[in-house]
């Protein structure tokens, strides 16, 4: 029921328009009743009785009614349609904002296709309900009761006889409602599932092709496609079953009139004129009855969708903007981890991590795959909240800081580079869409991306495919780095950002990072010693714990994990030392002569 309340909170704002629309519908319905009367008058009084004087007036009336009805109907339809679009707009906005607030935990568990379905297919069921179902139901109920009252005034006995169908109609309605519900839920689930499957197939198209699994995918797709069809057909069974029952009840009214009405006339408890009148009202009773089945169908589609949307909407993020947030427009970049532990799904990701960094320092993080390096970075940005311990930035617990200010101060190039299907410039300027081009270019130069961007067909205006398809791994990483640099952050996080760039580029980028002209704490997560060797502090992680920390020299002397990795990567170094030194000197001489 809360889902409906939530829905109503949107519709409520349009109460006035809705009421106006319904008033218009009332007028239209009345005109629909009046119009045949005028035609009747023309037939009876003008044609049959020969009173030709009346004709111009009646025809004028007829045309007037038609025009008024046409205009009102157009107007009312536009009103309902506008209401539905406005509600949808507001609802989409609300749900979208909520999606933007949800934390990583939420997204780790949700499938894109499901979330997408909430914003597309489910919204459409709501549109249909507001734009069409509401006034249809109202119009039918109005006509039905109007006709019933009219019939009562003509002959309450016959009216009562006709009312016999009502309890049956109620029974059928209840029964349809009950059996329909689970099937509509099934449709929504299948829709989501189909959506998710297609979405993954499209996103994963490279893998599908690489493994030449097209047939397998088609097989899986057929299952989804069949599943959706079967769900729709299962729901169709409902109306296959119930719509004829309503049709039957509706036609029974004619039968009752034929039998009971005629007998009453014969027994003189009703006049023939009354019989004719009631016959004239009969369609107003029959049509609404006939449509109940379809409308229940519409309404159930609608309620299931609202519930689905609401269920997604009502999931509260665990990471929340604090109520009394400490504003922090410009952070210094001092960071401290105090006995921080984080676990998800009963699995410890990091345990008891403590370290301290001063503003402007560089921290290198090395560790085996899955040892919790990215998690530490995510905790600084507060994408997750710690399970235990404290993360302090500038001496404040991150949980107390203004969440948006905090993130504003952090520039992060993620391991998993995600680029948007936008221009290169738009991607780099993601944090500051209005920033002047010169700054974009400056950031690109720092990330050594400017050169290859210029070689692209439209330079900075080249549109990159979704997720940066079409760019090489190294190019994506450099654009993502430029994007982080443009923020001029107090804390810069490079999570495995140079793994796909060659050595020369990497060392160029490192020089650039050293030249950053504002105080900036830098975290570099990497597998290559070269990326982190010059850091002020190097943390070595294993299995969620810091096993070694210190500078490059200290760690080499320590002869632990770090030293082993170093030897693996640069063991042959000694062999080449002389050669390299010579090269270097030659290189600097050359540069000197230029």
């Amino acid at each position: 029921m809360t889902a409906m309340k939530w829905f109503y909170s949107f519709l409520k704002k349009h109460n006035r328009s809705m009421v106006l629309g319904l008033i218009l519908v009332t007028v239209i319905s009345i005109l629909a009743i009046v119009k045949p009367m005028v035609s009747g008058a023309i037939v009876d009084d003008v044609i049959t009785a020969g009173d030709y004087e009346l004709l111009p007036k009646l025809i004028a009336l007829l045309i007037l009614i038609t025009i008024v009805r046409g205009v009102l109907r157009f107007w009312s339809q536009v009103i309902f349609e506008a209401c539905s679009q406005d509600v949808l707009y507001a609802m989409r906005d609300t749900v979208y904002r909520k999606l933007l607030q949800e934390d990583f935990n939420f997204y780790n568990k949700k499938r894109t296709g499901d979330l997408l379905s909430r914003q597309t297919g489910d919204m459409d069921a709501i549109r249909h309900f507001i734009a069409f179902v509401i006034y249809q139901v109202y119009e039918n109920v109005f006509l039905f009761f109007f006709a019933l009252i009219m019939i009562f005034t003509v002959s309450w006995k016959l009216a009562l006889c006709m009312c016999v169908v009502l309890p049956f109609a109620l029974l059928v309605t209840l029964s349809q409602t009950k059996s329909g519900r689970p099937r509509f839920q099934k449709i929504r689930e299948q829709f989501s599932s189909l959506n998710t499957f297609v979405q993954e197939n499209v996103s994963g198209n490279r893998v599908v092709k690489a493994f030449s699994k097209e047939d397998y995918e088609i097989g899986k797709f057929n299952k989804e496609n069949d599943g959706y069809r079967d769900a729709e057909l299962a729901a169709a069974e409902i109306w296959t079953k119930y719509v004829p029952q309503f049709e039957f009840l509706s036609n029974m009214l004619t039968v009752i009139l034929m039998l009971v009405g005629s007998i009453m006339v014969i027994q003189d408890s009703m006049t023939l004129g009354n019989y004719v009148t009631i016959n004239g009202y009969l369609w107003m009773l029959m049509n609404p009855l006939r449509q109940i089945g379809w409308r229940i169908n519409d309404i159930q589609r609608f309620t299931t969708s609202v519930e689905k949307i609401y269920a997604t909407y009502s999931e509260e993020p665990k990471v929340k903007h604090p109520k009394k947030a400490i504003p922090c427009h410009k952070l210094q970049g001092d960071i401290e981890f105090r006995n921080v532990s984080y676990s998800a799904d009963d699995e410890d990701i990091i345990r008891n991590v403590s370290f301290q960094v001063k503003s402007g320092q560089t921290v290198g993080i090395l560790g085996s795959t899955g040892s919790g390096k990215s998690t530490i970075m995510n905790l600084i940005c507060r994408f997750y909240d710690v399970t235990d311990g404290e993360v302090l930035v500038d001496g404040q617990n991150v949980k107390d800081l203004d969440l948006y200010n905090l993130r504003q101060n952090i520039g992060m190039a993620m391991q998993d580079v995600f680029l948007f299907s936008d221009t290169v410039e738009g991607n780099i300027a993601y944090s500051r869409p209005d920033c002047p081009f010169e700054e974009v270019q400056k950031a690109a130069v720092m990330a050594d991306a400017d050169n290859f961007i210029h070689e692209m067909p439209d330079g900075y205006d080249t549109i990159v495919g979704e997720r940066g398809v079409g760019l090489s791994g190294g190019q994506k990483q450099r654009i993502s780095l430029a994007r982080a640099l443009l923020k001029e952050p107090s804390i810069l996080i490079l999570d495995d950002t140079t793994s796909a760039v060659d050595m020369e580029t990497e060392s160029y980028i490192q020089q650039q990072l050293n030249n950053i002209d504002h105080a900036c704490t830098i975290f570099i997560v990497a597998y290559r010693i070269s990326s982190i060797k010059d850091s002020d502090l190097i943390l070595v992680l294993n299995n969620g714990e810091i096993v070694e920390q210190g500078t490059h020299e200290e760690l080499l002397a320590n002869n632990g994990y770090y030293a082993t990795v170093f030897r693996h990567q640069y063991g042959e170094f000694e062999k080449y030392v002389d050669e390299i030194t010579q090269n270097k000197m030659r290189g600097s001489e050359n540069r000197g002569t230029k």
Partner: protein, 598 residues
Amino acid sequence: MARNKYDIDEVIEDKFDLNQLKRVFQYVKPYRGQLAIALFLMLSSSALTMLFPMFISEIMDTYIPEKNIRAIVVITILSLVIVLYTCVCIRFKIRITSRIGQAIVHQLRSDIFCHLQELPFSYYDDRPHGKIQVRVVNYVNSLSDLLSNGIINTITDMCNLIFILIFMFLLHVRLTLICLCGLPVLMGVIVFVKRRQRRAWQIQSNKQSNLTAYIAESINGIRVTQSFVRERENTSIFNYLSDSYRSAWMHAVKYNFIMWPCIDSISTVTTALIYVIGIGWISGGLYGVTVGILIAFTSYISRFWEPINTLASFYNSLLTAIAYLERIFETIDEPVNVKDSEEAVPMPPIKGSVAFQDVCFSYEDGVQILNKVSFTTNPGDTYAIVGPTGAGKSTIVNLISRFYNVDSGKILIDGTDISSVTLKSLRKQMGIMMQDSFIFSGTIMDNIRYGNLTATDEEVITAAKTVCAHDFIMEMENGYQTQVNERGSRLSAGQRQLISFARALLENPAILILDEATSSIDTETEILLQKGLNRLLEGRTSFIIAHRLSTIKNASRILYVDKGKILEAGTHEELLAQKGEYYKLFMSQYDFLVSKQN
């Protein structure tokens, strides 16, 4: 064609193409038998229900005055029978139409999906994925009602219309002709509105596509959005798109709403005309018009306009649907560039000799990526491809699997031109691990098994052990049965790479291609992995693209690529001795150590 993004409308067809409709009917055709049955049921039941007014007038005119209760009871029973028959008819009609509707939608969706599987990377690269998705799911869905109920109702209405017209003509030819005067006016309105209406719905479908694309991307890119605090900006873009969608919808839907008042007015005016002229003719005693004929005629007029009204609403939904259909057919018609040639034969088991002969390639005209690349590999050897980013390394390996066709030159495997064999048989024998390790939602077991669906659990586990993924998998709460989701967001990048690595190995490929496959894996794991691999790679040709030189230097041969050409080729030692580009690259990794020492 330039790439598309969320706020760029797709190109819309200007002309109304009748072929689209013909194609739709191809989908309907297999069901014409069932449609005919449904139609028969509908026509017979509607003909029978037309008896009711006759029954009632008979009762009123004859049986009530005669007080013939028996006849009334008989008629009532007859009516009851008709009612029951009608209910049965409706039941079958609904069953048939919903089945047909769903079957057509099913078929259409299947066609577009199957075609999508054949389309090359570039198709996917050139537009936001949400725009592809909306076609397969949402657009197709919106057609089901139209293509089943819509068709039956249309035919029923047309039949009704014809019947009524016949009655009208039989009754009075001149009056009928007057009545028909309204039709050209209606046609005029339709022609006047049609172009705009169609355009309006096309625009609407574009806006819907834009919005869906943006939502999909917002969800996928949420991590970036949150970390760059772009929520506000994105919300305003989203609302802008949502608003465009709303206005496009409102604009389009108004054209649909115009139709009814127009028809209603035209019908009223013609009816009024009939009254006036009819009465004139009666009083003038012209053309044999009598009071009875005129009354009867007016009752037909309303019946005449009723089906026209429903036809018009069918026309409205048709125009809406065409906007979607165009998009669907456009995708189905998208040419497949990389496909089996007609005389393609299956690739025989690959031994592993790959030869490039003067291969030129460009993704776009004028931007040449590979320029006359030639090399030959020995079966069973490991080839490392190195060079600066954007040099064309990935392109070379993508061409081996024929993800793209070469512009000129040839690629031979074991002497067979790869363009002469079936794609499937070719790619089946290759294990490819791409830069982007995509994880499907499902269990880890399923994800690895993707490489070889017939693999047993043991084989999957063996593959995982080979790539050192077994340990971390076992640490997860449900081991191999742990659910991961798309992009594997609960796995680290390195873990994802290991899983896709296992997947590639499980395929038991004759040629293994590793494109930055181990960039996010730590050195320790990589060394272990290398050991496992060396055993496994025996006898298989492999291509490795990597930046970590420790990964590269053990290769049997190294190809140094830059600016679309192979500049150097040889073993690690040979290339070092050459003191060329590779030498520079290799030495540069030590630069930082030396600079510190200086």
